[in-house]
Symmetry: C2
Subunit: 243 residues, 2 copies
DNA sequence: TGTACATCAGTGAACGCGCGTTCACTGATGTAC
DNA sequence: TGTACATCAGTGAACGCGCGTTCACTGATGTAC
């Protein structure tokens, strides 16, 4: 949209009625779709159903989203941002506290978000939605959670608070070493290789355990899932060397 | 379901032609379904498509499976058994070798199976299939992999080869302690609580990392996934105290 | 300011698709006497 | 052994469902002069 000299400022409250309507209806479509997603899951998300609930004819939705995939993509980005917000807020709030506590805290925050947004979590971290291929737009928002977690380790490292216990991780091949070096340069400059490995593993551990809990693999084995999760985060934080 | 005929000698080689045909066609339906599953995933598995490929009318399949869910259940059980076989074989083959090597080996076997049976793995460990509720029949076959992994720790423990490094896992609440005690009694009698915790976490770690690899979360971050996985298994084995 | 034209949100009908499941039926296979 | 009856695999048509997407259209809103 191209505003010329005669127009008021770009984000002016004097936008045309059409513009306002478009923004609002786009938001309504998204929030309705989000609610449907929460109930039926991604595979059950239907353009027609969303349109129906909004009192629109199904084809009208195509004025706002190119197709079903575009709507799904928007929901994914929203969900990543929501989880990213929550995690970043937790990490920011715990600044200055002992690293291990911060790590456990962040993990618990992620778990809480996942429980409250089961289908969104599934959309982000579950198996791929059949027929849907996530475009690159979702990559950046997807990294926020991980970056927030990593920043705890980076902070601790900067303060000299990372003291990894002597635990082997076996030989590291050339290619893996290259991967890890690139990764460290990108998100955690200066942090030791072993710590990078442990951090990546801690990250996957959290999501692995969470998936087991949410998708029912530990059904009947564990009753206090939160305690199990916190214990896991604690141990993994210790392995990373956070305290 | 009408799977059992009213024959006197159930496993006799002189079974009637009808009986033989039923066994064979049931197997053909399953293997066709398995192939479709491998291509389209669980959500895309269609009774009609399976029937079509076998030259049957769709309603004929109902002579063999009560409905689509029953077919899916059979596939799940088959898949768990296939993975269970592979894991148990690897664990048996490594008997006598150092526990850490056995653990890494078993993990690698699981990963290999998952790569070769992507959709089956997804069916077992991915997000739930919409509208499908796994019945209890799938629970027992599902435990075989975990039991095989645990047996490595149990063997090592029996030989006095478990020496966990001094890594904290934080306070353990009453309920979690009860969970762990029950779990230990069931699958690893005599093994210390800390080891049980680490073993459960090692188990979730493997599947968490595997999920990340298979479902694309580490896309672009890690190129040598196998090395990453083996390193993870190695470190987790060390945390458990296997060597 | 008023008028002519351009933009675009929303309509309603249609296309083409595939699915799970039920049901009355036929004809081949199996069983009892 | 032959015959009468019972079982049951497979048929074909139908029910009822919902989906994504396209397209020519209308009428309201916005823009340029």
């Amino acid at each position: 949209m191209c505003h010329t000299g005669s127009m008021p400022a770009a984000t002016s409250p004097l936008r045309s009625a059409r513009d306002r309507a478009r923004t609002e209806i786009t938001a309504e479509i998204l929030s309705t779709a989000r609610r449907h997603l929460a109930v039926d899951g991604a595979a059950g998300l239907s353009l027609r159903a969303v349109a129906r609930e909004l009192g629109l004819v199904s084809s009208a939705v195509y004025r706002y989203f190119e197709n079903r995939d575009a709507l799904l993509t928007a929901l994914i980005v929203e969900a990543y941002d929501s989880l990213g917000d929550a995690t970043e807020a937790a990490v920011a709030a715990s600044a200055g506290r002992p690293p291990l506590e911060r790590w456990v805290d962040a993990a618990d925050t992620i778990r809480t978000w996942a429980l409250e947004h089961l289908q969104e979590y599934t959309l982000l971290y579950g198996s791929p939605v059949p027929g849907y291929q996530a475009p690159d737009d979702t990559v950046v928002p997807g990294t926020r959670v991980s970056l927030a977690l990593v920043s705890i380790v980076v902070d601790a490292h900067a303060q000299g608070l990372v003291h990894p216990p002597p635990i082997g991780h076996g030989p590291v091949g050339d290619q893996l070493r290259a991967d890890l070096t690139a990764l460290a340069a990108l998100i955690a400059p200066g942090v030791e290789e072993a710590t990078v490995i442990s951090t990546v593993l801690g990250w996957t551990q959290l999501f692995g355990l969470l998936g087991f809990e949410l998708f029912g693999q530990t059904r009947g084995l564990v009753s206090d899932h939160r305690a199990m999760f916190v214990t896991a985060a604690h141990q993994m934080g210790a392995v990373i060397g956070l305290g």
